[in-house]
């Protein structure tokens, strides 16, 4: 018997291969620098989004600290490379620091109620930005770090835009692949189950505290990798890049792309970057900052009211339900004469 476990996963893998092809031709189709910058930014944001999706969507953790973990990745790269280190070492340092911090901060996941976690992660976020802003000797304080060295392999350095796009989208595709594998694995199934009924998972002997801690660490590490790529792309960073407005952007990204949808992060990233680049400058007429804050805030509120699991997820689940209803209709081809009659009686 060929088990149905494989088919869903196979389908996603095919979509993934399609995405690889699309990404390969993207910089060739869009030759101008501005388009390429937009594409690159979308890739970066999608990586940030995947990390947050994993912690919030998969792990069900109220994570207010994601921007801080991205900042850790960025600053690790910045500090290591400006002190003469290899950019890959910088990324590795970011991964380790973010991973260890996420583990330590996440330990209370094992016992705290979910709301307290939001507070704990918020504290971490503030503490990290505080340190980045005031530990001047290491982080350059409010002036940040400049002269961050780009990644290179052998003699080839990822400096021009197309090569940076390939680098960033390459990481993104790997992250998506990890997510696909995870989703359809034993562990992924456990996460689905935990969300549906933590009572039943406990009664089956599954340690969901440990699982959620793991996912928190993984999500944060992916954020740090994104941060590292972000820093080497910008080549100069300041602490306020990783503050609250940035966090809100990623929340909006996940709200639009969906909390769990496998391709939600790239979709959300396209939406957020396009809003930021094309829509908001037109609406705001010069005062972009506060207008963007208001617009993102309004989007977040509206989406979360009508689609608590995010827009894409809502669209997917609604479509599925409609299809199911339609199918049922076709199967029971009886005229529904009951309703009008009963209405008449009621009136």
């Amino acid at each position: 018997m060929k088990s149905p476990l494989m088919t869903k996963r196979r389908n996603q893998h095919f979509i993934w291969l399609g995405a690889v092809v699309v990404v390969a031709v993207l910089p060739l189709v869009f030759g101008d620098g501005y388009s390429q910058t937009v594409i690159l930014t979308i890739g970066l944001y999608a990586i940030f989004g995947i990390g947050l999706q994993l912690t919030m969507g998969t792990g069900g953790i109220l994570n207010m600290g994601h921007a801080a973990f991205i900042g850790i990745g960025a600053y690790s790269s910045a500090i290591v490379t400006t002190k003469g280190g290899n950019p890959w070492v910088g990324m590795l340092v970011g991964i380790v620091v973010a991973g260890v911090l996420a583990f330590v901060v996440g330990l209370p996941i094992l016992r705290l109620r979910s709301l307290y976690l939001a507070i704990a992660t918020l504290c971490v976020a503030l503490a990290v930005t505080n340190v980045l802003g005031f530990w001047t000797a290491l982080t350059g304080g409010q002036n940040g770090v400049t002269g961050i060295v780009p990644f290179s392999i052998g003699d080839f350095s990822f400096i021009d835009l197309p090569s940076q796009i390939y680098l960033i989208w390459g990481f993104l595709l790997v992250a998506v692949l990890i997510r696909i594998n995870l989703r359809y694995s034993v562990v992924g199934r456990e996460f689905e189950a935990i969300k549906d009924s933590d009572l039943a998972t406990s009664s089956l002997g599954i340690n969901h505290g440990a699982r959620r801690l793991q996912i928190f660490v993984i999500g944060s590490v992916i954020g740090a990798v994104g941060g590292s790529l972000y820093a080497t792309y910008l080549s100069a960073i300041t602490p306020d890049l990783f503050g609250f407005p940035f966090l809100i952007q990623i929340f909006v990204l996940v709200a639009l792309g969906g909390m769990v949808s496998l391709w939600g992060a790239p979709i959300g990233a396209i939406a957020v970057v396009c809003l930021h680049e094309f829509v908001i400058p037109v609406i705001s007429g010069g005062n972009a900052g506060p207008v963007e804050i208001v617009i993102f805030g309004v989007i977040l509120v509206i989406v979360m009211i009508f689609a608590p699991n995010g827009l894409t997820d809502q669209v997917v689940s609604t479509t599925r339900r409609l299809v199911k209803i339609a199918r049922r209709r076709r199967n029971h081809d009886e005229p529904s004469s009951v309703t009008p009659a009963s209405k008449k009686v009621a009136a």
């Binding site: 919030m56 069900g60 109220l62 209370p108 016992r111 705290l112 109620r113 979910s114 709301l115 307290y116 939001a118 507070i119 704990a120 918020l122 504290c123 503030l126 503490a127 505080n130 005031f134 009572l199 609250f244 809100i248 929340f251 709200a255 909390m259 005062n287 900052g289 506060p290 207008v291 963007e292 804050i293 208001v294 993102f296 805030g297 309004v298 989007i299 977040l300 509120v301 979360m304 009211i305 608590p308 699991n309």
Partner: protein, 296 residues
């Protein structure tokens, strides 16, 4: 260092703490009744401060400006519930509800920046004097007295409403057991609306009293909001006396920390929160056992 110096520190700490207590109490009130952590609470304080500055600039006397400010922010709190959280609460998850309050805080910040600009706005003390009052070589500004008195009145009024009125009883009943409250005929939506409004009013009191002391900007609220959460956590996030004690404790702690470095105050509140979360999950008043929610 003499006694007067410490009394001075104490007075400063309690004054700051009173503001935190007002904000924390709003957090706790909303949380107890609706289970929501309202991240926009700090922004309500900011709006309160901004409004009183505008009213005073327009030449309104205090006895008009203060009640109108409180009433407007009360309505704003109600509107937040009626327009956003009320419709969301039935289908909402912990995460979606939290993100909604975050979104609202952003909207309020953005609108404040558009409406009132980015530069800090100032207003004079409510009872200006040439010099601070000096009692036993401890100097107290009249605004500190306003703050202490105002917060005391606000907390007292809240207490009276909770203890003595029908709506207060409904609030308390809903905060103890929302399910039972619903079964015994309490209109939980109405009660939630009032809780949001009351939290807004408390924040407004904090904001309008604080306005003469600091330069209000659109961003003032978010930091004080975090302090309010910290105070609520220290107090056990759930008990109203806890919120007050937590607020005062945090104010005193920061006042002590300022001896070492004024830049340290935020770090101190963060540290306090983390310690409390890790060691005393039910706050300084509660026990060490985590309340497990078991519903089978």
């Amino acid at each position: 260092m003499d006694l007067a110096f410490f009394i001075q520190l104490f007075v400063t700490g309690v004054t700051t703490g009173a503001i935190y207590a007002a904000v924390a109490m709003g957090f706790v009130l909303v949380f107890r009744v609706t289970g929501i952590l309202n991240f926009a609470q700090g922004e309500l304080l900011m709006v309160g401060g901004m409004l009183i500055i505008s009213f005073r600039e327009a030449g309104w006397p205090l006895y008009a400006a203060i009640p109108v400010t409180i009433a407007l922010v009360f309505l704003l709190g109600c509107a937040i519930y009626a327009l956003a959280l009320g419709p969301a609460i039935k289908r909402g998850t912990n995460i979606s509800l939290l993100l909604i309050t975050l979104g609202i805080s952003q909207v309020l910040q953005g609108l404040a920046q558009i409406g009132w600009g980015s530069a800090p706005r100032y207003t004079g003390d409510f009872s200006p004097t040439a010099h601070p009052i000096s009692v036993l070589s401890v100097s107290i500004t009249t605004q500190s007295i306003w703050i202490l008195g105002g917060v005391l009145v606000a907390l007292g009024a809240t207490y009276l409403v909770l203890e003595r009125t029908g709506i207060g009883r409904a609030l308390r009943a809903s905060s103890i057991d929302p399910m039972m409250a619903r079964l015994s005929g309490i209109n939980v939506r109405m009660v939630s609306l009032i809780a949001f409004g009351a939290a807004g009013a408390l924040a407004a009191v904090g904001g309008l009293l604080l306005a003469p002391v600091i330069g209000m900007t659109y961003a003032t609220g978010s930091l004080i909001g975090v302090k309010g959460i910290a105070a609520a956590v220290i107090g056990g996030f759930g008990s109203i006396p806890g919120a007050i004690i937590g607020g005062i404790a945090l104010g005193l702690l920061e006042s002590l920390a300022s001896l070492i470095s004024t830049g340290l105050t935020t770090g101190i509140s963060l540290l306090a929160v983390v310690i409390v979360l890790l060691i005393l999950p039910n706050g300084i008043l509660g026990g060490r056992r985590v309340k497990a929610a078991v519903g089978v």
